[in-house]
Amino acid sequence: MTTSDPTTQTLTQLGKTNSDGVIALFADLRRRFEKEEAYQVLAGASAFNQWQALQLSWLGRKLGVLSRIKDNWLKPAPPDLRPVVGQEFQKLKAHVEAALEEKRKEIESAAEESAAAREKIDLSLPGVERPIGSRHIIRQTFDELIRIFLSIGFSVVEGPEIETPYYNFEALNIPEHHPARDNMDTFYIEGARTPHLLRTHTSPVQIRTMEKQPPPVRIVVPGKVYRRDNPDSTHGYMFHQIEGLAVDADITFCDFKGTVEYFVREFLGPHAKTRLRPSYFPFTEPSAEVDATCHICGGSGCRVCKFSGWIELFGAGMVDPAVYGFVNYDAAKLSGFAFGMGVDRLAMMKCGISELPLLYQNDVRFLRQFP
């Protein structure tokens, strides 16, 4: 503020005695405001401070230009000039206020934009992770196997893990002292009223099912089985199997083959080939080992398949007629097939899991890998 500032003097002191003089005076002030706004309020970080200073110098309650006009010009104005001074004052005030408000918004939105630009989210940082659960890989594999067999008409049934020797062995044509029992070292239960054991395969459920229902039978049986094997990288006290059984009046080896090939393609992909190798199980005849083309080398031979190009998947075969004798089925009229797959082995094979114990340690670092 300089002494030459007209607002520090009254109109009389300024020698303005008519309305034209007053109007010219206000016009000067308006130009001065516009000049100050243009030159004193600049864009950038301090724009808001500059705006505040401008606002204070014009609208400040005590020292603002408009307050001084009110005090020095309007209040002491001669009565004839008062209306025009009042009118011009209001016009100037409205203009200043509107201009300042517009400027403020301009400054604010510019500030917001630059703040937003500064605070851009780092997309490489992780979001907030909610803890998520997962199904065990064995469960996932069971679900997949069951889905495949449901699609070709196999129903799911279950049976007890603590079995009788009759269902686990005798009714499956494995009498006591049969050498086939060598491969099925068995845990027995102590203190049961009649002899019981931990089933060594899911096959007893074949017998339980046929005892209960007349043919046709088409079932799969998922479950835990137990072997009295010293644990190592491929053996444990317990593993999982899924058993299959189809019995009807006209089921043949060709049906067996078609079913097995369908399964292998569904489970391992459309390019997987199947091979049946003659084998031996006391409860199937003819019996077969089902091989699929090695998933590692695709059949050309590698260490995993011992350079044969084939991987053994599971044992299977046509139901041995002796088994029908145990369930009062007519072996002369019925035929069927059965299979028993090691689910752990299938899961390990498909996911490249090297050690069986990993499946049952339940280390979350393992579980996390199968979301």
């Binding site: 102590e190 189809a246 049906d255 083959k257 031996y280 035929s335």
Partner: protein, 697 residues
């Protein structure tokens, strides 16, 4: 069994190289695991199934190869040069137990010279993994691997009275076997004895006393047929498995016994000199006439679903020794069971023979049409929904081996429950079927904590096992375990420990599927007193659990593991566990699902009112909600605990509770007057029924 390619060639003129032979044999039923090179030529590692003892020698495998390639098999008829003296004059044989020994042949060789075997013999034995010992022992081994017939040689000078008696072991009888171990003979073990004592365990191992030594001059060569079951019993009882017992227990060929004896005698004379006494002492009480078998095309078609040409059927059956004779114009063949194929007794067995040599690959695949609807397990859908919810709550599924350590199992075992113990465990820490799913859950938590994994939320759908009145019972259970942080520290949020209230909240989210859970203090003794709960299905339906007290609808327990148990198990973190009986839960989920109904969405706004009250510590939140609900205000929507604190300005023995009540009408927007009315009724009820004081709002 290890098989030498060049040895096979002595019986069948194989042209195919070893690698091709491997593939062809595998497809005929003799799986060949690998081929290795040796100084004696390629060695095939063949896996012989339990039904094929005839293939536990090179000659039997050669017969299979002859059938595969339709090549002639060299007949086997050794004709050793014999001396004038008769074997029958040098040794006597009696079989006292023909049920254990079906045939016993003895030959005598005099003047043999015991020395190391010649190079070719050592080479062959070494190639198939056998250690050469001396020429006599090596020859018996050689013939075992050549013909599948186990043989034994005695030093004839050590056989008292030159008598061989095949009998049952006497009570308390002992023998020192070739391996130098003195063994007590189990009851019913078949032994070879001389006039005074057992000199060998029949079909298992010879005795040390009558063993061939460098001083031996005269040899008694035994070739016999022993009963498979008795050999298997003896071998198991003695814990002694030998190449001989392995073959006898699977069923040797009684006809081969005599042939093998001739073959061995011939070879002994060749490598050890001496002379073979004339003839064989052959006691054969269980000679069986060959069994007649029938093979028909109609049965082949019924089982296999595709045909095999006549010529192939006949060639295959002939090559395998079944001597097929076509009965007449009908497609029926009469066959004879050869002595080496005791496993083939039925038509289906012949069908398998024809099928495997014809080739499984020649039968066309066909997918049989399904004639019945396929069904999942009865509660599979409910279990899917349950598992989906649990996984959504952040729990990872585990699978535990249900064999437990009894000392651990005991901790979590319900009072009065009889565990299912293993009679023949391999390890003490896996000798009982778990009585509770919690045992397995604790193991999984422990494993992770010991491997640096501290923040855990796990669940398992498994079983617990017990004996009830001596009968096994398996009960499906759903088990939870949680410890560590409920929320990890991140750049956005602070960390928070998992607490009982997390477990409760999670279980109640699961309860939503099943019509709701009700909670009561109490539960298993291994839970921490103040943080132990019994769970009930809100709509009943459950049966009495094993957790004391059983009441209608009770189906599980949940809480914090008691500190003393955690200390005992060396678990430093706070552990939260729950075990629910699965069947009841699934039934409740199904029931809730069946009654699921849509409630129209409210069209008028909901209004919340907060009430800050002081309550005595003994008053529960459940009492508050019951008191308010008892007013029967139809517009009442929800009652929540919005804030709760003790201390500060709140007097001791009391707590401050902010109750947030939501009102909503289905008919209209609620007026201030209505709301004021509800509020004053609620305040009055809380004051009069629960002794609440309203804090200045």
């Amino acid at each position: 069994m290890k098989v030498l390619y060049n040895w096979l060639k002595e019986f069948v003129d194989i042209q195919a190289p070893a690698a091709e032979l491997r593939a062809r044999l595998s497809l005929a039923g003799i799986a060949v695991d690998s081929i290795e090179e040796s100084v004696a030529g390629p060695v095939l590692d063949a896996e012989i199934t339990a039904n094929r003892p005839d293939c536990l020698g090179h000659y039997g495998i050669a017969r299979e190869i002859a059938a595969v390639y339709r090549l002639p098999l060299k007949p086997l008829d050794p004709k050793p040069k014999e001396a004038a003296e008769k074997a029958a004059d040098a040794v006597r044989v009696e079989i006292e137990s023909p049920d254990l020994c079906g045939r016993y042949t003895a030959r005598v060789l005099r003047g043999v010279k015991i020395q190391p075997s010649p190079g070719w013999l050592c080479q062959r034995l070494e190639a198939i993994g056998q250690k050469p010992i001396n020429n006599i022992v090596d020859i018996t081994n050689y013939v075992l691997f050549e013909l599948g017939q186990p043989l034994h040689t005695f030093d004839l000078a050590k056989i008292r009275e030159r008598r061989i008696i095949v009998r049952r072991a006497r009570a308390g009888e002992k023998i020192r076997t070739l391996d130098g171990i003195e063994r007590a003979l189990p009851k019913d073990t078949c032994v070879i004895a001389d006039a005074s004592a057992a000199v060998a365990i029949a079909g298992v191992m010879g005795g040390a006393e009558s063993e061939i030594s460098s001083a031996s001059r005269d040899v008694l060569l035994e070739s016999a047929w022993f009963d498979p079951i008795s050999i298997r019993r003896a071998s198991k009882a003695l814990g002694l498995r030998t190449e001989a017992s392995y073959r006898f227990e699977r069923g040797a060929d009684p006809e081969m016994a005599e042939t093998a004896s001739r073959r061995a005698a011939e070879l002994i004379r060749e490598v050890a000199g001496g002379e073979i006494l004339a003839g064989v002492v052959d006691v054969y009480p269980r000679r069986e006439p060959p069994r007649e078998l029938r093979f028909s095309r109609s049965e082949l078609l019924r089982v296999m679903g595709a045909d095999v040409p006549d010529g192939d059927i006949e060639e295959i059956l002939a090559a395998l020794g079944f001597a097929p004779r076509r009965a007449d114009a009908a497609a029926i063949w009469q066959c004879k069971q050869p002595s080496w194929r005791r496993d083939v007794t039925r038509e289906i067995d012949l069908i398998e023979e024809v099928a495997r040599h014809h080739g499984y690959d020649k039968f066309p695949p066909r997918l049989p049409p399904a004639e019945q609807p396929a069904r999942r397990l009865p509660h599979a859908d409910a279990e899917d929904r349950l598992r989906e919810r649990i996984v959504a709550l952040g729990y990872r599924e585990i699978v535990e081996i249900p064999l437990a350590d009894p000392r651990r199992d005991e901790i979590f075992r319900a009072a009065g429950l009889a565990p299912a113990k293993i009679a023949n465990p391999l390890a003490e820490d896996a000798s009982v079927m778990r009585s509770s799913g919690v045992v397995g859950m604790i193991s999984a938590l422990e494993w992770n904590l010991n491997h640096g994994q501290r923040d855990l939320r796990l669940f398992e759908i498994g079983k617990r096992y017990e004996l009830r009145n001596g009968e096994p019972v398996e009960t499906p259970v759903l088990t939870f375990g949680a410890t560590g942080l409920a929320r990890a520290k991140t750049i956005y949020e602070a960390e928070r420990e998992f607490a009982f209230t997390d477990l409760k909240g999670d279980l109640d989210r699961i309860g939503e599927l099943a019509g709701g859970f009700a909670w009561q203090h109490g539960g298993a003794g291994w839970l921490a007193g103040g943080r132990a709960a019994r769970l009930f299905l809100a709509h009943g339906g459950g049966s009495a659990g094993p957790y004391e007290l059983g009441a209608a609808g009770e189906f599980g327990v949940a809480g914090q593991l008691a500190r003393r148990i955690a200390d005992q198990l060396k678990l430093r973190q706070e552990i939260f566990v729950a075990e629910l009986q699965l069947d009841q839960l699934l039934a409740a989920i199904e029931a809730a699902r069946a009654t699921m109904r849509f409630a129209p969405l409210a069209r008028f706004p909901a209004v919340e009112r907060d009430f800050s009250v002081l309550l005595a510590d003994s008053i529960t939140f459940a009492q508050v909600t019951e008191t308010i609900r008892a007013l029967g205000i139809p517009e009442l929507q929800a009652i929540e605990a919005a804030d709760l604190f003790r201390g500060g300005q709140v007097p001791a023995g009391k707590y401050s509770l902010m109750i947030r009540v939501t009102f909503q009408s289905r008919e209209a927007t609620l007026t201030d007057a209505q709301l004021a009315g509800f509020s004053s009724r609620i305040v009055a009820a809380l004051e009069s029924k629960l002794g609440a004081t309203l804090r200045s709002a």
